[in-house]
Structures are given as structure tokens and as C-alpha cells.
Subunit: 251 residues, 2 copies
């Protein structure tokens, strides 16, 4: 049985709490947060950072900028202290003796339940013993465990901005185009899903299609005319150029 203290009450804390609650191999002995309203979702809560419970692992699940603030409350702690961020280096948790990273790579929102077994968990620690402990913890809730150092984690976080944040923005632009022309966005949903499903088993470059891929300048010109918004025109032009360059190279 691994005893865990969760520090934080946001999306990440919610999903971790729910995942740990579903296994008997982990006990969340305490959830600590300043926001008393947000604490109501959890059991064994405290808003007093001065009375943190004894545990094997302390998980700081707050936004990047607050990690250093929370860490300052943990200077007396001997257990393993980890955070869940994609971009904050492990060394930011010093001078504590036992430190590490427990970074589940997924986009979490309160409105959607996530099957944690499919979520890749990236772990890193300052000793083999601490790494083993994190691996044991990760395996209680996920089948996908990766040992990733801080430099690699920065890369993953950057790639995730393209694969998640920017992709969602393209969905949003498609949505705006539909709304502007009274076409149901609904109609694009199966296409969006299939596009994501294809790259689960094929490299994205081999799945590239569209006017830019086949250098169809006539359609590209028509599309640019149709776009009412200057920013959308710029995005269309830049991404089309980028696709053309990639495809040109591969010829």
C-alpha cells in the first residue's frame, strides 16, 4: 500500500484522485489545497499547509507557476516529493532529498472521464529507489509507463502543444468557418475523429492529403478567397507552404 498526499485541487488532482481511489494498492491519505470550495470533491482534506499528513509520496498537482510556492511548504518533508508538470525541471524541487516527476501526458477536464489505464505516465527521480517507487505507483493506475528525463520531457511538452493545443485551435477555426456560413459543425466530427485515429497506426506524413499536399494551387487560391478573416488566411498560407515544403523534400 502506497500512501499519497495530493497537493492541489484542479483537473489533474481530480483525475489522479479518482484513479488512485479505484485501486486498493494506493491510499490517498490527504488532499491539501487553499480553495475550500474545490476541496469538497475530496475526502480527508486540509487547507492548512502547516499540517501535512505522513505519506510515501507527495504529489504537487498545481499549475507550473505555483509549484515553487507549494514546495516551500514541504521543506521539512522526508518522503518523495514529485510534481506533475510537463515543463518544470526536476531540480526546481531541490533542496529536498527525495524528488521526482510524475507527469501523466493527457488533456484533463472536469467534464470528461478519462480511462487512466491508457494515459502515458512519464516518471523521473533523483535516485533508483525513488524511481522504483514512482514506477510502482504508476503501474497501479496505468499500463503505459515511460522513464523520461527533464530534457526529454520538455520535448514532449513542446510536441504536445502542436498535437493538442494547436490542433484544438484548428478545430476551433473550422468551427468558426461553419458558423459563419450556417453549416453544422456536427458534419465534421467523424472526420476529426478518423484523422486522429489514422495516426494511431500510421506515421502522419504518410496520411497527409489535401490541396497543399497535391500542390493544387487553384483550390488553394479559391480557399484563400473564401476566408473572410485575415488571421485565418495567414494560417492557411503558412501551413500550406509548410506542407508543400515537406512534400517537396520527400519527392
Amino acid at each position: 500500500m502506497i500512501r499519497v498526499v495530493l497537493l492541489g485541487t484542479g483537473n489533474m488532482a481530480h483525475h489522479l484522485y479518482d484513479a488512485f481511489s479505484s485501486t486498493e494498492r494506493v491510499q490517498v491519505v490527504q488532499v491539501v489545497g487553499r480553495n475550500k470550495e474545490a476541496l469538497k470533491h475530496f475526502e480527508n482534506t486540509s487547507s492548512d499547509f502547516g499540517s501535512i499528513a505522513q505519506a510515501d509520496i507527495y504529489i504537487i498537482a498545481v499549475n507550473d507557476l505555483s509549484i515553487s510556492t507549494v514546495k516551500q511548504e514541504l521543506t521539512e518533508i522526508n518522503g518523495l516529493i514529485v510534481h506533475t508538470s510537463g515543463s518544470v525541471p526536476i531540480d526546481d524541487l531541490k533542496p529536498n532529498k527525495n524528488i521526482g516527476i510524475f507527469y501523466p501526458l493527457q488533456t484533463f477536464s472536469k467534464a470528461r472521464k478519462v480511462d487512466f489505464w491508457t494515459v502515458p505516465i512519464c516518471i523521473e527521480a533523483n535516485s533508483q529507489e525513488n524511481l522504483n517507487l514512482l514506477a510502482t505507483l504508476a503501474k497501479t493506475i496505468s499500463h503505459r509507463l515511460y522513464e523520461i528525463n527533464s530534457e526529454q520531457r520538455k520535448t514532449i511538452h513542446l510536441a504536445a502543444v502542436f498535437a493538442n493545443n494547436f490542433t484544438n485551435h484548428l478545430y476551433d477555426i473550422a468551427h468558426e468557418i461553419c458558423v459563419a456560413h450556417q453549416v453544422p459543425f456536427e458534419i465534421l466530427k467523424p472526420l476529426i475523429l478518423e484523422t486522429a485515429q489514422k495516426v494511431q497506426s500510421h506515421p502522419p506524413s504518410s496520411m497527409q492529403t489535401g490541396p497543399a499536399r497535391r500542390n493544387d494551387t487553384e483550390t488553394i487560391a479559391k480557399h484563400l478567397e473564401q476566408l473572410g478573416n485575415q488571421k485565418q488566411k495567414e494560417i492557411y498560407t503558412l501551413l500550406s507552404e509548410s506542407i508543400k515544403e515537406n512534400y517537396g523534400e520527400k519527392l
Copy 2:
């Protein structure tokens, strides 16, 4: 029983053929194409456009640029002639008397089987009778039928370039970043899928996250430093600006 002639042997023809073959309400009486090797996938084939069989509907399933060429072979045909393109207007099928559009909105590749029941089919025709015939045909293979005029179809095609072609290119950039830093692309796959799944039930704007969304200029600057490729820097900058603008407006 609706009798169909398929003209074309590419991905679209393949998937339509397989879908129609699974219902007894449609009979594909002939598949016509110039590429004899490609015709081997089908039954009742012909490479002679001069001996096209009698049918209720003739489906031109070729790339946009070849539609007019194939159409010229069909001037003597009395049945309903349709094409499957997202961007070619219905009037390009004139002067034939019975014309229409049968546009399945999905990305097709030979390597992946598609559940056609979930594929939106956009139909348009030059008479109510022809529209009814296309609706009957569409319903034999899909639950999602949309009556869409040529103007709306152009909009959908444009939105699909963002939702499918450009999105796939962002996956490709994420893939390149992973490869350049020896990180497995594998690790991003659940994130890619969840991002697409979220917008099945929520508007994309409400799902936007990331450094640009929260105006985290420090992370943005670090990411731009990490990117080795000039084009990738430009894309990162432009999409981040666009997200910031959208978010700013909504405040």
C-alpha cells in the same frame, strides 16, 4: 434495388464499392476505370468508357481535375450522374439533364476500413426527384444524411482542410520534434485521440488550453528557443498569436 455504375478506382471508389456491396438494396452493376490493375479489386469491371452499363445512378468517383474528362464520356446517359467531390460545383455536370452530388465527408485510405454508417453524406441534385433518389441511396449505407448546396459544400470542404489536412500536418510536426529528440511519438497518441474526442461533445473554444491560451509568455519563449526549424517557429508564433487574439476577444 438501386442500380449503380461506379466510375473510378481510387480510395473513394473502393470504400463506396465495399459499402454498397454490404447492402442488398444496391447493386453495383459495373465499375469503370482506365487502370486495369486497379480494376482487379472489383467485379463486373470495364475499362471501355464506350460501353457503360444501364443504371439508375452513375457515380463519378475520381479526382477533381478528372471529373470533366469522365463526364464527357457520359453525354448520352439518361440516368442520374453525380460526383463525389467537396469542391466541384453541381453545374460542372451540365448539360446532362439529371445531375447531383454524393459527397461522403471522410478521409479514405486503402489501409483503413471505415464504418460507413457514421460517415456524413452530403447530397444535392437538380430536381426533387433526383434528390429523393440520392437520399434513398445514401440511407442504404449511412445514418448521417445532409442536404447541402454547392455553396455550403465549398464551406465544408474549406473547414475540412483545417480539421483534417492541417491537423494532420501538426501531428507530423509533433512527430518530427519527437524524432529529432529521440522521444517515442507513441507517447502522444492517447493525447491526440482524446483531443479529437473532446470536441465530439464540447465546442473547441471551450476546450482550448496551453501556453498561448493562458498567455504564458515565458513558456512560449522557451518553446520557440527549443524549435530548431524556422518554419516550425513561424507556425508556433502564428497559431499562438491567433489563440491569444481569440481568447482576448472573449474576455
